[in-house]
């Protein structure tokens, strides 16, 4: 222990043993918690990569070397233990449906947030905030059933198209977009609004060109996170869009495959019988496809996050330092 430092009437106590111990303990606890949180994440990534690359290493003759078949083929005409078949149709389906969902939910969500933060007052504002909170808690399967039921009324019973799935995802996305945009609009300093208004700029232009512009990077990040949140949704898409084996570019007509649904349906097929030794056949090809699709899905989400970060970095207010 260090000695007490004394000089005249000034006495400086040394760091007490108790505080030093507590400091060590808390440090250890923080690191331990961080490591614990990291374990499942690392485990998951390692598992998905190690099991997911298998499908990329088999070509359609059953030869084992790296190829892109999995990304360039759909499941059209693929059956049994054929070492072929890919996710082209599912990946495009996921991108189409997610894009439409974003196109529906971003304007609605952003305008709602602008209303709540910049214009709303009194009971209507409170009601909107309340219902957005309620919407956050809607189970995804309920959103899927809602969209399915809605289009059963609008377009006839049994309608399963990409647009139905997009509506279901939009229902899930809107509250997330509203919440995150609200937060981002709120942290724009009021001084900037006043500075703009005092220059004789009308309120709507102030909101558009100062408030939304200043918050734009944060809003983009929020939107990307909302997309990442719904891109892995399975249950609502299973109900609203269904399952397909072939490419379908038309969101208004016919079923469309998506990556999460693809994973489920491949996994469900289970091991395939390989009885003819003359035909290339792999018994667990379906499971390999499921893992490989999971890997691609994770990579897509990662890419979206990276794009969001780049946009945020490029557009965020400059500090000049």
């Amino acid at each position: 222990m260090a000695a007490v430092v004394e000089q005249g009437t000034l006495t400086l106590e040394p760091l007490s043993r108790r505080r030093a111990t507590v400091d060590r303990l808390m440090q250890a606890a923080v690191y331990a918690a961080f490591t614990l949180a990291l374990i499942p994440l690392v485990w998951l990534i390692v598992t998905v990569i190690s099991r997911g690359v298998g499908r990329f290493m088999i070509d359609s003759d059953g030869e084992s070397h790296f190829n892109w078949d999995f990304l360039t083929q759909s499941m059209r005409g693929v059956y049994g233990g054929m070492p072929a078949g890919g996710i082209l149709h599912a990946a495009t389906g996921t991108l189409i449906i997610t894009l439409i969902a974003a196109a529906i939910s971003v304007p609605i969500g952003l305008l709602t947030a602008i209303y709540v933060v910049e214009y709303g007052r009194g009971p209507l504002k409170r009601a909107i905030t309340f219902f957005v909170d309620v919407m956050t808690g809607i189970p995804s399967i309920v959103a899927g059933l809602f969209a399915y039921a809605l289009f059963a009324v609008l377009a006839g019973p049994g309608t399963k198209t990409a647009i139905v799935g997009a509506v279901a995802l939009a229902v899930l996305m809107i509250p997330v977009v509203v919440r995150s945009s609200e937060e981002m609009l709120r942290i724009v300093p009021n001084e900037l609004r006043e500075a703009s208004l005092a220059l004789g700029v009308p309120k709507w232009l102030t909101v558009l060109k100062i408030v939304v512009r200043t918050a734009f990077a944060g809003i983009t990040t929020g939107v990307m996170l909302a997309i990442a949140r719904v891109i892995g949704e399975t249950a609502p898409l299973l109900i609203a869009v269904g399952v397909a084996d072939s490419m379908n570019w038309d969101p208004l007509d016919g079923r469309m495959m998506t990556l999460p649904v693809y994973i489920v349906s491949e996994y469900r097929k289970g091991p395939q019988p390989c009885n003819n030794p003359d035909v290339a056949c792999i018994a667990d090809i379906t499971v390999q496809r499921a893992w490989a699709a999971a890997l691609v899905l994770i990579l897509i989400v990662m890419a979206l996050n990276l794009i969001a970060r780049l946009i945020a970095k490029y557009l965020s207010p400059k500090t000049g330092r």
């Binding site: 007052r121 900037l192 500075a195 005092a198 004789g200 060109k209 200043t214 557009l315």
Partner: protein
């Protein structure tokens, strides 16, 4: 340019709370008018009523008249946005727009209103305005840098440049130097002395030496107690207010024997 303002019997409210009561005064064109008084006496509230920024706060409203060259700014057909184009404002904390460069900040009042400017004209306005704000020599080599890269004093002069770029008739300054060091304060005070050649300037300040240095006329506001409305105690030429005020309260305040 440089218009006269006459305020008649003005009351300013926040909801039901009466913050400023019964103010009547005249602001001369091409001069600096200082508003002094203790904290909470309604100086800032009052100055914000002159360009209708007071009503931006939810629940805030104004009664009475503010006449600019005889036209009531609170008349039924007057658009507050139009008022703010004639009466500019500089705030206590420098607040350049963080997403804009120095040049864009100067042009903000024009560009934000969706008016297109030819490039040469824009450059002319940027240079002329920054020169008028005594900032040109310091920033001419870095006009494309963000406004927030400047020091506090430079940012405040940038905000003044931004305010005069839209060619207002009156400039309101709400404690423009209270966040600045003495050297930056001096730069702003010199600038005010130049700007009053062309503009009517109203400044709120807590610094009585500053009021004495820069203003031609001074108005003293006071408040009877917490929860009571602020009132105008007296207004006169600055030299008179600081040497021979008519009211005891004014004398107590400027000599530091307050409360």
């Amino acid at each position: 340019m440089a218009k006269r303002i006459d305020v008649n019997n003005l009351n300013a409210f926040y909801g039901k709370f009466l913050a400023v009561e019964g103010v009547s005064l005249s602001i001369e064109p091409k001069s600096v008018t200082a508003l002094i008084g203790p904290s909470g006496c309604g100086k800032s509230t009052f100055i914000r009523t002159i360009n209708r920024m007071h009503e931006v706060i939810p629940g805030a409203r104004v009664e009475g008249e503010v006449l600019m060259d005889g036209i009531d700014l609170y008349g039924t057909n007057v658009d507050p946005v139009a008022v703010r184009r004639h009466v500019g404002m500089v705030f206590q904390r420098p607040n350049p727009f963080p997403t804009m460069t120095i040049a864009e900040n100067v042009l903000a009042g024009i560009r934000l209103n969706n008016r297109r400017l030819p490039k040469d004209q824009a450059e002319e306005i940027v240079e002329g305005t920054l020169r008028a704000a005594n900032l040109w020599d310091e920033v001419k080599d870095r006009l494309e840098r963000p406004g927030s890269s400047l020091s506090g004093g430079q940012q405040q002069r940038l905000c003044i440049a931004r305010a005069i770029a839209v060619k207002p008739d009156v400039i309101l300054m709400d404690e423009p130097c209270s966040a600045l060091d003495p050297i930056s304060t001096l730069a702003i005070e010199d600038l005010m002395a130049e700007l009053k050649e062309n503009y009517t300037i109203v400044i709120v300040t807590h610094n009585m030496q500053q009021a004495a240095r820069v203003s031609d006329r001074t108005a003293f506001f006071n408040i009877a107690g917490a929860g009571k409305p602020g009132k105008l105690v007296e207004m006169n030429a600055t030299s008179v207010i600081f040497s021979a005020p008519a009211e005891k309260a004014t004398e107590d305040y400027i000599s530091g024997r307050f409360g």
